[in-house]
């Protein structure tokens, strides 16, 4: 039976703070956390039969969660760009710290990185849900961040982007 990715995404984005790894696995992608070289956040690869997402286990939980969402975005948006010949079948990301500005894009482009970042933010803090909770929690950014399992700065920027808070 074919996996309905739209329905899985719909279910995930209707509950705040969901386990992104469960969504990844439900989509038929293998997920693994293991130590990677310093600075590397994670990677997505195509092994000829399926897609694998690997996240650096040495990074903190919030980073791992966002990295997982970012790699999932690559899977949802760009998986057809990953080569299946074994030459360009892996895309490694450096999402945080000084190396983020020069994140090696191959075989994707910087635009794809920006797109995956935006999509990951939308996955972790869905617009329709955060707007509802924003009112329910009386605009409490800290409570919203806890509910959506993201950092307060990330929630604040997302709320600003959506026009719910004035830009600082």
């Amino acid at each position: 039976m074919a996996i309905d990715s739209s329905e899985l995404l719909h279910n995930f984005t209707n509950r705040p703070g969901g386990d992104i790894t469960l969504l990844i696995r439900a989509l038929g992608v293998t997920y693994e956390e293991k130590p990677l070289p310093a600075g590397q956040s994670g990677y997505i690869e195509y092994d000829g039969t399926g897609y694998n997402i690997v996240v650096n286990s040495t990074e903190n939980a919030r980073r791992r969660r966002f990295t997982a969402a970012h790699e999932l975005s690559h899977y949802l948006l760009h998986r057809d760009l990953l080569d299946d010949t074994g030459k360009l079948n892996r895309h490694t990301d450096v999402l945080f710290g000084a190396g983020a500005a020069s994140n090696p894009p191959d075989p994707l482009s910087p635009f794809h990185e920006a797109q995956a970042n935006r999509y990951a933010a939308k996955l972790l803090i869905p617009e329709h849900l955060v707007k509802t909770k924003f009112e329910e929690l009386e605009q409490d950014v800290a409570a919203l961040a806890r509910l959506f399992d993201v950092s307060q700065p990330a929630m604040k920027i997302r709320l600003e982007t959506l026009g719910l808070l004035p830009r600082s």
Binding site: R62, F66, D80, L95, F96, A100, A101, N117, A121, L124
Partner: protein, 133 residues
């Protein structure tokens, strides 16, 4: 007549021909057996009996076959048409799925090429914020 129907007709004619040929071969065998005179006893009675049975079987087989031929033809054609329709549906479905995937990816790439021309920020405050505890 469709090519598949011609194949059905050909198969049915071949079946009829095989019945006839089968009995002809049997008749030839019996004729050779009787004509060689190998048995010392008089086997005319046996030969006549077997030939009579053979003729009867030929009539029954061919008669029965021709009686059923129309039904067999109709059923075979209906089955073939149903099978072909199923195959067509499966092929169309596979083609639609492939076309949808290709169209989706192509649209995405075209949109991306359009947007990629815009300057991209070197660093993304939102992403950096997601990395904070």
């Amino acid at each position: 007549m469709q090519p598949d129907e011609r194949k059905i007709d050909f198969a049915l004619n071949l079946a009829a021909a095989s019945i006839v040929v089968n009995f002809l071969v049997l008749a030839v065998c019996l004729f050779v057996f009787n004509h060689s005179g190998m048995p010392k006893e008089d086997t005319n009675a046996l030969a006549v009996s077997v030939t009579t049975i053979e003729i009867f079987l030929v009539i029954v087989a061919l008669g029965g076959y021709w009686m059923l031929r129309t039904d067999v033809t109709g059923t075979a054609r209906a089955t073939t048409h149903q099978y072909l329709q199923q195959q067509q549906v499966a092929l169309i479905s596979a083609a639609e799925t492939e076309a949808r995937k290709t169209a989706e990816a192509t649209t995405r790439r075209v949109m991306e090429e359009r947007d990629a021309a815009k300057p991209q920020p070197a660093s993304d405050p939102q992403t950096a914020a997601f990395g904070q505890e």
